[in-house]
């Protein structure tokens, strides 16, 4: 690019260009160019950019390179740039992308490039189908100039200026991008058809309305699929003989895991706003600000922590208490020690237990690893992500249920099955049915995995920024993800499609929890607010205010009456999320900083709370590192 330092030359050059366009008969481009110059007459920045080599302009309008290709290339460049821009401005810039696409398409149609227009639509229209299904469908039918006049949508677009509000910075970014890349066509288009109003504040909620409604029309089933319901167990001949046949209804054998769940349900402590749970707190000392994640096993006897220096430590309470002679001689005051496991090559950002004996870990090195606690070895590494993994979630559909479902055709887990030994506690069939888990990553996707396959089974793509957290629905058929793009999406496991979109957070989403009945989703974020969403309508039911720092973890009690949240401000808060405002307080305005649903908040001694979890018996477990100045 030849840069000239004198303003007179640039004006001369403008005249040259205009003359050229006039002589060659590119009337439209000429008028667009003229408009552009007029609009930016006083703009310093633009004048500087205008010193473009004449030859470049010539190539841009070279008849050999047809207009449709110019359009297509410009659009591709523009789209790629929007997708890789800063997270903060993703929503706004995406909003510019759609009208640009529509206008380019209509321009092609208007210039009688019918085939090319159809190609253009096929190539780029797909990504807008989820948001603007009806408009796209109509536009697909518009292929000739006459049909433009008949189509309402097309006429609206061509006759009116599309109004957009962008923040100052986004507006500048857009302008600079278009100039630097010489996307004159897009610039001209934007000038002609758009009115962009720069503003100071960003308005996030207004975007994605269309997407929300389209997705909202899809069905979400909160119960189990027919195939998931466990069928009656079949017994072997020996078992049949052993059973007592005198009674008309032989008592069916209950598998151990199910029996345990039933007993837990029996012994469950009923909770309510007046009957609060007991909270057992696990504190980790001397973590030197390196602890990034903690998870507790279902029976609360094991704790696994992931660290910044790629270490994973398992604390086994039962083991620490038994010394050589088998007597419990551990001094009450002495703390539990851990074993240090190393396999990752970068910080470990998430750990999750699979039952009591297995756990998963994931982090910077893009792998998810499966570990066994008893042998303290890493058995499997799952690969598929290309960017760091932020979070893991384990499906509540535990292996014993899937055993019943795959009765006969055993989903033989060859990798783990071949290692089946007394340690694994393999079933009578000798194979461990696979469990499902999901991961959330920096690459803007969440993926679904099964323990018996190294590669993911499903990819849930659709977020505009990296996915921070993921959770399974209690029926195991849906996955919710929360992202830095301030939205929460619900995905179907069977198809991988998005089915709900919940917008309303003001900052990224950091924690999710489903209520046990599967109708309510709670999400909390870096805006310190917990939002409750009704999944059938994706409307927000309410917000819970009260925390003074990022909320790291949420969990509903086993009967769904209370919601517990743990935050970096060192408190565990209990919320009666369903309570109505008391009658006498309806007139007084709500206290701006604390919601009325907050029952109680328990503070620790400077220990940020990383994880809260209810056991099946409604004992609340919470864990965090004790570090000075960890705020």
């Amino acid at each position: 690019q030849k840069m000239s330092g004198r303003p007179e030359e640039s004006r001369n050059y403008e005249k040259i260009v205009l003359n050229y366009l006039k002589t060659k008969g590119y009337l439209k481009s000429e008028s667009a160019f003229r408009d552009e110059i007029a609009a930016r007459a006083g703009d310093e920045g633009l004048v500087a950019e205008m010193r473009v080599n004449t030859s470049n302009i010539v190539t841009a309008h070279n008849p050999n390179e047809s207009l449709p290709d110019v359009y297509a290339d410009s659009y591709v460049t523009f789209r790629d740039w929007v997708h890789s821009s800063l997270d903060q401005y993703q929503h706004e810039l995406n909003a510019v992308l759609y009208p640009t696409f529509v206008h380019l398409y209509l321009e092609l149609v208007a210039k009688r490039f019918t085939e090319k227009a159809v190609e253009f639509m096929e190539r780029f229209g797909g990504e807008f189908k989820s948001e603007y299904a009806t408009e796209i469908a109509e536009l697909e039918g518009v292929t000739t100039i006459d049909s433009i006049k008949e189509s309402e949508v097309a006429m609206t677009f061509r006759q009116n200026r599309y109004i957009l509000t962008l923040t100052n910075f986004a507006y500048d970014l857009l302008k600079d991008f278009l100039h630097h890349n010489n996307l004159m066509t897009l610039l001209a288009l934007i000038n002609k058809y758009f009115t962009i109003r720069p503003s100071k504040n960003s308005s996030n909620g207004k975007f994605s309305q269309a997407e929300m409604t389209t997705l909202g029309n899809r069905d979400v089933y909160w119960g189990l699929y027919v195939e998931q319901i466990p069928r009656k167990a079949t017994y072997t001949a020996a078992e049949e003989k052993a059973m007592d046949h005198k009674s008309p209804n032989p008592i069916p054998k209950i598998p151990e895991a199910e029996d345990k769940m039933l007993r837990d349900a029996e012994h469950r402590v009923p909770l309510s706003a007046t009957s609060l749970p007991s909270i057992c707190f696990y504190t980790l000392f001397h973590t030197h600000q390196g602890l990034t994640c903690i998870d507790m096993s279902e029976d609360a006897s094991r704790v696994v922590g992931g660290f910044d220096d790629s270490a994973i430590r398992i604390f086994d309470i039962a083991e620490c208490q038994v010394n050589g002679q088998g007597k419990r001689t551990r001094n009450e005051a002495s703390p539990y020690t851990s074993t240090d496991l190393r396999a990752h090559s970068g910080p470990v950002y998430s750990t999750a237990f699979l039952g009591n004996d297995w756990f998963l870990s994931a982090g910077w090195d893009r792998t998810i690893r499966l570990w066994n606690v008893d042998t303290q070895t890493n058995l499997v590494a799952y690969r598929g992500h290309n960017y760091p993994i932020w979070a893991l979630a384990v499906s509540p559909v535990s292996s014993f249920l899937s055993q019943f479902a795959s009765n006969g055709s055993a989903a033989v887990n060859t990798q783990i099955g071949s290692l089946s030994s007394p340690i694994l506690g393999g079933t009578a069939g000798g194979s461990q049915a696979p469990s499902f888990f999901a991961s959330a990553s920096h690459d803007r996707t969440a993926r679904l995995w099964s323990t018996d396959n190294i590669h993911p089974l499903r990819i849930f793509a659709g977020h505009l920024s990296d996915v921070n957290t993921v959770q399974f629905h209690p029926n195991g058929n849906y996955v919710a993800t929360g992202s830095t793009d301030k939205s929460v999406r619900l995905w179907e496991v069977q198809t991988g499609q998005a089915v709900r979109l919940c917008m309303g957070h003001v900052a990224g989403v950091s924690a999710l929890a489903f209520s046990p009945d599967g109708r309510i989703l709670a999400s909390a974020g870096e805006d310190y607010v917990i939002n409750l969403w009704d999944l059938s309508t994706s409307k927000r039911l309410g917000s819970l205010l009260g925390h003074k720092a990022v909320v790291n973890s949420l969990d509903f009690s086993a009967d769904g009456t209370l919601l517990a949240s743990g935050s970096s401000d060192g408190t565990v808060a209990l919320w009666d999320w369903d309570s109505k405002r008391p009658q006498d307080k309806e007139d007084t305005p709500d206290d701006a900083s604390v919601s009325h649903q907050l029952i109680k908040s328990f503070s620790t001694k400077k220990t940020p709370v990383f994880q809260v979890k209810f056991t099946r018996r409604n004992l609340l477990l919470a864990a965090g590192p004790f570090d000075q100045g960890h705020s």
């Binding site: 504190t283 539990y336 921070n468 830095t484 970096s568 565990v572 620790t604 919470a622």
Partner: protein, 373 residues
């Protein structure tokens, strides 16, 4: 653009790196570009910070972000000592080899505690103190001047009710005339569990009162009654305070002269000592197993008092009662071997001219006779 990185800054940076005068357009083009890239890196670095659940952006986060974007990380900014990045710095190997080894950081450990029990936060050391105690600590620290190092006391907060109750209690107990309230308070002590908070105050009151009112048998008797009730109350946990309850009991048992120097009180003091002996017996019986040094220490004290001829006879009487109260084995071990020499000493007093001494000696004799036969 938004102008955080200005053309001026670019020009200054160029100057730092000894690049001759930079053209206007170059700075104008570089400034927004540099700003965008810095924003990108900061955005990625904050993501790493958030997922490590920290609030402080560290050099590690920035380096991770650079690595993610396939840019070489910045070396030499990890340690506190910034000069590592300086390529011209000379370091003496000997210095490094002979330097002291840095301290090994402590290993990661875990401990459990109850943050709440059925919704109530227990006041155990692992939980933060209640709000009022914290406020009073802050006040102390505020008032102290800069030079003196004031260690904040752990303040206990009593409700107004309890404070009132305690005052009435002490007043009633100290009242030498009026007996009516005393029984009421004693029955309260044995039936009301909420008085447990006042227990340390009661114990202190008892020991103070006993030392102050050695002349009033009535009060001493009251104190012994309180001790009796405290030991036998199912709600009050006196084990931590045993060491504070022993001295007043032993004082009542072995004191040189209890009560005023007149006829009626001199009879009473014997029954008082006997009462003290029986309380001692009950304390030893209840807590002797848990605190293995309790009985030996008590026996030692009593033995010392018994064998010391310098001590007055009243003390001897008390020690005899005490030893006998502790059981037949104690009698066998302690009194029987020393009996002949003791009786010899007693003979003198029995035949002495001083009537009071005679009475005392006779009492001792009686005690021995009663117990031994």
């Amino acid at each position: 653009m938004s102008g955080t990185v200005t053309k001026e800054s670019i020009r200054l940076i160029a100057k730092q790196h000894q690049i001759p005068s930079v053209k206007e357009e170059v700075t104008a083009a570089l400034a927004p570009d540099a700003e965008y890239r810095i924003r990108e890196i900061i955005q990625e670095a904050t993501k790493f910070m958030r997922h490590s659940k920290r609030g402080i952006l560290t050099t590690e986060d920035v380096n991770h972000a650079l690595k993610l974007r396939n840019v070489e990380p910045i070396y030499g900014v990890q340690s506190r000592d910034d000069s590592h990045g300086d390529p011209d710095r000379e370091v003496d190997f000997n210095e490094i080899i002979n330097a002291q080894m840095p301290r090994i950081p402590r290993d990661c450990t875990m401990s459990l505690h109850w943050l709440a029990v059925e919704g109530v936060q227990p006041n155990i050391p692992q939980n933060p103190p209640s709000d009022q105690a914290e406020l009073s600590m802050k006040k102390i620290l505020k008032n102290s001047s800069g030079k003196t190092l004031v260690k904040p006391l752990v303040k206990d907060v009593l409700s107004k009710e309890l404070q009132n109750y305690y005052e009435r209690f002490t007043k009633a107990m100290q009242d030498r005339e009026d007996d009516s309230e005393v029984d009421k308070f004693l029955s309260d002590l044995s039936t009301d569990p909420s008085l447990a908070q006042l227990l340390p105050y009661f114990v202190e009151f008892i020991s103070d009162e006993v030392t102050a009112s050695l002349d009033s048998l009535k009060i001493l008797r009251r104190m012994l009654n309180i001790i009796y009730v405290l030991i036998h109350s199912p709600y009050l946990f006196v084990e931590p305070y045993l060491h504070q309850l022993m001295p007043p009991t032993l004082t009542c048992l072995l004191g040189k002269s209890l009560g005023k120097e007149d006829e009626e009180s001199s009879d009473e003091q014997w029954s008082l000592r006997q009462q003290a002996a029986s309380i001692l017996q009950q304390m030893c019986r209840r807590y002797g197993d848990a605190y293995r040094s309790l009985i030996p220490r008590v026996t030692k004290t009593l033995l010392k008092a018994f064998l010391d001829p310098q001590k007055p006879l009243t003390t001897h009487f008390g020690s005899i009662e005490g030893i006998c109260a502790l059981g037949s084995q104690t009698i066998e071990l302690i009194i029987l071997p020393n009996l002949p020499s003791y009786l010899q000493g007693l003979e003198e007093h029995l035949t002495a001219s001083n009537s009071s001494k005679q009475i005392q000696a006779r009492k001792c004799m009686d005690a021995l006779l009663v117990r031994l036969f």
